[in-house]
């Protein structure tokens, strides 16, 4: 892959970093060549990697004992795929003193309400490599597990997160966990707070159509961006230790609109290709607010208000939020289930 001008500018001229969003080793290498400093994966991306290069994974997976139960087999597959990603970014982990160079590994999306189950799994995932960021859903139970992990110094990435109330709750619970870690003399871990900007756009687009809201296509593709920009300002103001990780981009516009501030963009190879077409000159746009008229039109949609206002939802409402359920179901059906199918053949 040739050099991507925008990413070069981003990593050299701004405080913004980016992580590569796929689990295919050659794609990760391309990402690293363009300045990626971490790797995000999720169950569908792992399943996609297994399906894309089966001959590559066969020898890697072949010694997984066939007598393990299904969940242990799935975990063993995740471990091997994740370890490869972790190995590729480990040099960055060391040179950055543990600030960057993480590979994400996600807990079972079938248990979004099970704090103990997720915490137990998180501890196992954390042990796979020195540079694992354990991905937990931003539900009430996921946040409980996140605080417990933070108290133990485990680096976490909070996912299934689309809204400002979720981003703020992640940062607050991480802060609580950090305080406990400090009191106990535990070396603190990092916390990356995902906001899935494209998925919230997709969801609000459908909601707006259903309730015949008077919004345009260009209004819709600014939902996630508006939430992110507001989150970035509040994170700065409140000096949160957690770091924002916008993800699930749908176009180069998500990257260009969020560039320039202290956060990490998760960028899928498809979006990298779109970004590669950009010529520049580039500007730091994260602090440029979304047009007030756009926010006003979007705010006629109750689901947008819940996502955009700092107190739009309480943590006990996160699991019942439509886009949370939509995404968890996708993670299960297009991620966990296909990985189980691979496990069943072992």
């Amino acid at each position: 892959m040739s050099e991507i001008k925008f990413l070069k500018w981003l990593t050299r001229e701004t405080p913004t970093r980016w992580w590569h969003d796929s689990a295919i080793p050659d794609e990760i290498r391309n990402g690293l060549a363009n300045g990626a400093t971490g790797v995000t994966t999720n169950p569908p991306l792992v399943a996609a990697s297994l399906a894309a290069i089966p001959d590559y994974w066969d020898p890697v997976l072949k010694d997984i004992p066939s007598n393990l139960d299904m969940s242990a087999k799935v975990e063993a597959i995740l471990e091997r795929v994740t370890r490869q990603a972790a190995g590729l970014v480990e040099p960055i982990f060391h040179t950055s003193g543990g600030a960057q160079g993480y590979a994400c590994a996600q807990v079972n999306p079938r248990r979004p309400g099970d704090a103990e189950g997720m915490f137990a799994m998180a501890k196992r995932l954390h042990a796979w490599a020195p540079n694992i960021a354990v991905k937990l859903p931003a539900t009430a139970a996921g946040l409980d597990a996140l605080e417990e992990c933070s108290a133990l110094g485990i680096t976490v990435t909070a996912t299934v997160s689309f809204t400002l109330p979720q981003a703020l709750a992640i940062a607050e619970r991480h802060r609580k966990g950090l305080a406990r870690a400090k009191r106990a003399g535990v070396k603190p871990g990092h916390c990356f707070a995902v906001v899935m900007v494209g998925r919230i756009d997709d969801y609000i687009r459908d909601v707006a159509e259903d309730c015949r809201a008077n919004v345009s296509k260009t209004d819709i593709i600014q939902c996630g961006t508006a939430i992110m920009k507001r989150a970035a300002a509040l994170f700065r103001e409140r000096r949160y230790e957690a770091e924002l990780l916008p993800a699930g981009m749908r176009g180069a516009y998500h990257a260009t609109d969020l560039a320039g501030t202290d956060m990490t963009l998760s960028i899928h190879p498809k979006i990298q290709e779109m970004i590669a077409k950009l010529d520049g000159p580039f500007e730091k746009r994260c602090d440029v607010p979304v047009d007030a008229a756009v926010i006003k039109r979007l705010s006629a949609i109750p689901e947008f208000v819940r996502a955009y206002e700092p107190d739009g939802m309480k943590p006990v409402e996160f699991i019942a939020c439509g886009v949370v359920q939509r995404t968890l179901a996708q993670f299960v059906e297009s991620g966990w289930v296909p990985i189980e199918a691979v496990a069943a053949r072992l």
Partner: protein, 352 residues
């Protein structure tokens, strides 16, 4: 058959009817032999039968041109399977004068908010066979389409439906459409209002655990049932023309506790087998309410109250309700998306 089994007893001795919920040919045949009066299909069941019986469907799939891609391909595969099911159910359709004997043809789940696209697809689905019933989601947009279909004399089935509010909204939409049909002298066709009782239980189980509400499994397992009983009570009181269709049953009690109601169940072969194996007591239980103590405990969970109260959800909240999104996502991921690329060399264009 010397002695009638529970399903036959239900169909013959009580006002309760049931439809068969799978698209696998031998299973449809067995279901109809046991008294099923219709056949439910959806994108997931369609994909499952293509996977389970590739040789049975091979010629039909091979006849589809490679140029038929994505949505067009998924729809053609749905048609292939739905028209087969319609043929199998046609004798019942003729015998009952069009009250039963339908095969369900479900709309593309990714169109759940698009009135005009759903209406166009619904008209195509209705044209596949004389006894097709169009299955569509109970969203605000879906409700508009339902009224139009009822007014046009097209049989319909309202799915993605978990709550009393949704059941009422479907019945009211259908009633409005019926009035228009009567006024225009158009022969009316039935409407089935699904209540996805097992899926509601599954959803509430996750919610309760997440918010640390100590509800027992026995209590959770009565939530969908409580919703269906309440919807039925209201339907009886209001004299609604739409027929309630409990679906997604998880246990024998989901059927036995509703037995005797003027409802039409959708029963998957696995559930049919579970019931035949359990051989429950022949008893009508529809009038036995879910214990008040259980309802009171469930009501502490806000998501249950949304599903249980007649005004628990406003029409614009049907789409955003968590169980709706979860189910639409499953239908899209495990049904529609694989159908779009089945037997095709076209790659999926979906985001992961």
């Amino acid at each position: 058959m010397a002695q009638s089994n529970y399903l036959q007893w239900l169909a013959v001795e009580t006002p309760t009817q049931w439809w068969h919920d799978s698209a696998i040919p031998e299973e449809i045949e067995a279901g109809l032999a046991n008294g099923a009066l219709g056949v439910t299909t959806n994108p997931v069941l369609t994909y499952k039968t293509l996977q389970a019986r590739p040789e049975f469907w091979r010629d039909g799939v091979a006849a589809l041109p490679q140029s038929l891609i994505l949505e067009g391909r998924a729809e053609a595969l749905l048609k292939l399977v739905a028209t087969y099911a319609a043929k199998a159910a046609e004798p019942v359709f003729k015998k009952t004068g069009g009250r039963h004997g339908y095969a369900l043809g479900q709309l593309n789940p990714t169109l759940a908010t698009d009135v005009s696209a759903m209406l166009e697809m619904a008209r195509r689905v209705a044209s596949w066979a004389p006894n097709m019933a169009v299955k569509l989601p109970t969203t605000q947009a879906g409700l508009e389409v339902m009224e139009e279909l009822a007014a046009a004399g097209i049989a319909l089935c309202a799915t993605i439906n978990f709550s009393v509010s949704q059941a009422i909204a479907v019945s009211e939409s259908y009633r409005r459409g019926l009035k228009r049909a009567h006024k225009n002298g158009i022969p009316v066709r039935p409407c089935f209002a699904v209540q996805q009782i097992g899926r509601l239980d599954d959803y509430l189980r996750d919610c309760a655990k997440d918010v640390k509400l100590a509800l027992t499994e026995a209590e959770i397992a009565q939530s969908g049932l409580a919703v269906a009983k309440r919807s039925y009570e209201i339907a009886e009181r209001e004299g609604y023309e739409a027929v309630i269709m409990p679906a997604g049953l998880r246990g024998v009690h989901h059927l036995t506790e509703l037995a005797g109601a003027k409802m039409t169940f959708s029963l998957h072969p696995r559930v049919q087998r579970m019931i035949l194996d359990a051989d429950p007591k022949r008893e009508t239980r529809i009038d036995a309410p879910v214990e008040k103590r259980v309802i009171d405990r469930l009501m502490r969970l806000p998501e249950f109250a949304h599903a249980y109260e007649p005004d628990g959800l406003a029409p614009h909240e049907f789409f955003t309700f968590g169980a709706t999104q979860k189910t639409l996502s499953q239908f899209a991921e495990t049904g529609w998306a694989p159908l779009e690329v089945y037997g095709s060399d076209q790659a999926s264009s979906r985001w992961t």
